[in-house]
Amino acid sequence: MKHHYLGIDLGTSNSSCALFDGTELQVVRSERGSSLIPSVVRISPKGQIFTGSRAQRYLERDPANTRAEFKRLMGTEQQMLFPASGQSKTPTELSAAIISSLLDNVEQQFNIRPTRATVTVPALFDLPQSNATAEAAAMAGLEKIELLQEPVASALAAGWNEESLQQSWLVYDLGGGTFDASLLEFQDGMLRVVAHDGDNFLGGRDFDKLLADWIIAAIEQEEKQEQEQEEEHGQKISIQRDSPDKDHKKAIQLITLAAEETKIDLSTREESEISLFADVEIDGQPLDIEITIDRTTFESLCQPLVDRSIEICNRLLRENMQEGKLDQVVLVGGPSMMPIIREQVASRLAPIASGSLDPMTLVAQGAALHGASTGLSTEHDIEERSEENKNSNKFILQHPTMSSDLQPVVIGRLVEKSEPLVTAVQLINQANQWSSDRIPLEDDVFMLDVQLQVKTGNLFTLNGFDKDGSPVPVRPETLSIVHGISISDPPLSRSIGVALSNGGVRRFFDRGTPLPIKRTFTHHSVDTVLPGKNGGAITIPVVQGEFNEARYCRSIGSLIIRGDSLKKALPTGTGIEITLELDRGGSLKAQALVPSIDKLFNGVLHLIVAGADLDTLRAEAGSLRQRLSDLQKQAFKSNNRKKVSRYIGWLSEMEEAERDIASLQGGDQDAGQRAGYSLTSLAAKIDQEETVRQLEQRCQEDELGILYDCDWIRDYGTEREKSMLTRALQTLEQAAKAKDPDQYSRQREVISKLGTTAYERSPDGWAGYFEYAAARIHEAGNLKKGERLVWDGRKAMEKNDQVRLKKIVHQLWNLLPADAKTRQESFDSGIR
């Protein structure tokens, strides 16, 4: 049984898809034979939906009812109107229409309608944008999808096609309106993304614009000459880009379309003719153009744009690798077909990976390959389908579907037995006739290393034998493993946890944790919540950051258990099982289960604010400005000139973003997008700066505490604890120097745990805790119980009963509330 894997590249200008069957990688074609479909949707007056080239034709004729470039608005709630039919659609719905027509093409060509696929998204897409993409796929009828970053897909496809793999690659992806540069590292068959950079406002259409300007200038020039020759004194023709006039708009549009055609023409020819006769009149004169342009002239127009893209690559390289270490560049996207780009990338960056790669479909090809590595085939449980052999021994198998290791492990477990019983198995590779030994089952399990043929699909037959060594039928009869590249699980960029009422943080996931991941921890409420509107609430704040103190972290949302959703009171100390779940794309789900009332509370959290929504952008800009001005004040205070000038640079970025927000208010959606991106990148920089500052501040605050810990360990620690302290102190110091908050926190915690252990061993340790708690007993939720515990504690101390005292201290702690200030600093957390 062959598996098929479908990959979809949902592009801003063009979309495409590819199918991989374990051996062969095929680009899917439309009924007209094209491997691309324009990402354009038109709705006719009768409400019929057209996509691809059938819609693209109408961009010119009926722009009001034809939409392109809606990918730029993914993740926003923007309604796009189609006045002729009276319909309106979201960017997600339009994307769904494109995916749907790609699926039609697959069905046409291969006779299967896939229900699973890998869909690519730009590396810089954030959560809402990725979620919207997933939603579009679901609308188009895909039941299960995986999202994959476009540069990873490109690299996978390039790696599959390349004979020998180099270590470090740059993916240079210049699309219709965006530029993405990604640095990847390849080692031991594993692909790792090192870093990304890019410009969301640099792409093919900027080349079109420059050429259009050149054409307009040429028209005006020609017109002027004609007038001079004929000694006319008529009005001079002048086509204005930002003119509100309908004819000007139309002329600009037509000229820009002609410019794009010419640009594409010049990728393969030295010279191209631009001719345009249209029924628009500009200032009373018909638009009538016939000009020739040669490649050299065009390239001199483009040079600044090419420079901009290469400068971004250089910045990425400078920040992430030693000079001259880049091995290869993979070119992706339509504009990378231009000779000037191929030449300059090769001479200024690094050699271009083999010329046979198709820059237009590479992303889709890589997505299809990725399907094989995650086992996301278009078919459902295949074994269940084979009706014959129902009464044979059945195994469940575990093995990678794609492996970079030439000797992956296959594990099998016998789950249905039948006579004659299988006692040993053997695997034979159909690709290279390699055959394993006969392996006996142990506790119904076998495990064996198999041998793969390089860079291809390997189909193995599974043979079973009974105790006499005679063959017996087994299920499944075959299994397949593709030899290729594997990519590492994407790592979490910032630690995530839950803030506690005592100011601490329960870390659920550490930075670097491979996604997807899910964890559950049990916590307890610190207040009583009564049923009803005024019954109060338990707040469970979810925070992100590298510190174990909530006030140093950033709140990203909360789960709230409200009184009005309860039928019964939840007393203080109620157990709450909190589950956080993060998927591969970084989308976070939170859940709280209260077992005592058997009720589940769900929460949706927003990791990042994005999109061109005016209010969120304004709010985000306001808070960033505040944070930036705090940093600025600090820098002034400490007279740090370098920082002051850095922040002034950021401030001007801030101002630009604010201008863009103002233009958004005036209806300029693109400006809104631009503001969203610049704010996100500013937020990242400010985050980083704050983290460093907080670390410095924390190091100072910690000094005394560490001194105390060391004292206690010196006096009461074991030899091993003392040597652990030495190690931890060393690492702590390194972490402080390297400005690594993660490592610092870990080591600080080691020291404090060692200190606490030693302190508790000291003769008066628990008595000290007891006295501290006893002094605050009036704050106890249950005063009567508290006073009794204090009394019991005093007696235990008299008898020097340390065990009993310890128990009492724990009970007292549970009775005492966290102090108000701490609680406020931990985002009003209602749990401990």
Partner: protein, 93 residues
């Protein structure tokens, strides 16, 4: 994190590897353990340490693999890894 976790939850123990494991061994071993867990093979959810056996789940294994893939983190963990006190060879090879 508890102090003891530096020892007990050391990724090298979780993957039943030694401090001189190669990149390839890390991948294979993690893949193997994840496969065994998926098939609910007896004992695949526990691993031996010098202080007795400890529980692990698939997330622990994937995290351990990610930690050990990073050369700097690998170095850190091998530093806390006490090979001499290892009671016996890893149970399954």
């Amino acid at each position: 994190m508890k102090v003891a976790d530096l020892f007990l939850r050391n990724p090298l123990y979780i993957l039943e590897l030694s401090a001189n494991a190669t990149a390839r061994e890390i991948e294979r071993q993690a893949g193997k353990i994840l496969g065994m867990m998926e098939l609910e093979v007896h004992n695949s959810t526990r691993y031996p340490t010098p202080w007795g056996s400890q529980p692990r789940d698939a997330a622990d294994v994937r995290l351990a693999r990610a930690e050990l893939r990073d050369p700097v983190r690998f170095h850190f963990h091998s530093f806390w890894f006490l090979e001499a006190e290892y009671p016996q060879a890893p149970s399954r090879n």
